[in-house]
Symmetry: C2
Subunit: 194 residues, 2 copies
């Protein structure tokens, strides 16, 4: 019989399989849960089982939701004429903290040929029927890196014959420092001046 | 109905309640699990439920174990004459990677008056019957900080009339750099020379 109980090893390994959690953090989380009241581990286990049971993907915008269509797609008080295209559900969360009140379209990632992710692996073609329904603007809000830019360029080429396509601004972040900004960001901030 | 499904909020909050996991990490872990295959969340949930069911505290050394007495306390091939006193089960794990082959005694923390943890909250008095059973040496291996040192001092005073008490060496860590060592460590390394 090993010195470390099998159940402890199993929990450490489960934590380690998550992104950004190394062996030391996995150990510390496990021993924390061993000492914490029963409910802490129980609540976490319950929440884990619930997400797979209760969460569906909205069949209009492909965001995660409790039902389909999701609350955003069903909310007629939102601006139905603008669709913002994002990579992931976390991006929707981020823009919901701004005053944006249009609709979303969640791609489920970005075009990444090296990982075998092409346009067909994303929810890109599902955009076409949506923009033909009185939409006047599609805002591309993919991440500001090479793959995100390539994805935006692909979608722009596809949609620009049908609808006005814009991209979120690039430049210095609020609170940023010109002195420490990288060359690419400074170049973008110059192109984007006005 | 909220924009973020309740089950997702519940999981984010459960992760956030763990030490060292902030809101951003909790969000990222949750969305990772939403996209990961069903088994990943299921395995983590199972492991969480298992630790509380299968893990007990050894009634001799107070380490966590699958049964009591634990495998270390029951292993007669180990040196029964030496007991190492540590703060937590993780410390046992660390010393098991060395060539130490005696027994352990897990205090369950350290004396910390500011947190209301006195000697009675720890497994200190449980050491007394153990050292009267042919034990020739007790090695104190509490953490090298103020609270760990105070705990060691308390136990040393208690046990030194009964048995030889030693402390693990203090000094520069292997691979360390004299130039960058702090004053306290350098002073200890001088006192500990030989």
């Amino acid at each position: 019989m090993p010195v470390v109980p099998r159940a402890v090893v199993a929990l450490i390994e489960s934590f380690e399989s998550l992104p950004g959690i190394g062996p030391k953090t996995a150990q510390r989380l496990t021993y924390h849960l061993l000492h914490a009241p029963q409910e802490v581990a129980q609540n976490l286990a319950d929440a884990l089982l619930r997400i797979k049971k209760e969460i569906v993907v909205c069949q209009i915008c492909f965001n995660i939701s409790e039902k389909t269509p999701c609350v955003i797609c069903e909310d007629l008080s939102r601006n139905q004429k603008v669709i913002m295209v994002v990579e992931d559900p976390l991006d929707v969360l981020a823009f919901e903290r701004t005053n944006f009140d249009g609709l979303y379209h969640v791609l489920g990632g970005r075009i990444a040929p090296l990982e075998g992710i092409g346009p067909d692996e994303l929810r890109i073609k599902e955009l076409l029927p949506r923009v033909q329904n009185g939409v006047v603007e599609v805002i591309l809000a993919t991440n500001p890196n090479m793959e995100g830019d390539a994805t935006a360029m692909y979608i722009e080429r596809l949609l620009s014959p049908l609808v006005k396509v814009t991209k979120i601004g690039r430049g210095l972040p609020v609170g940023g420092d010109v002195e420490y900004a990288d060359d690419q960001t400074l170049m973008r901030s110059l192109e984007n001046r006005g």
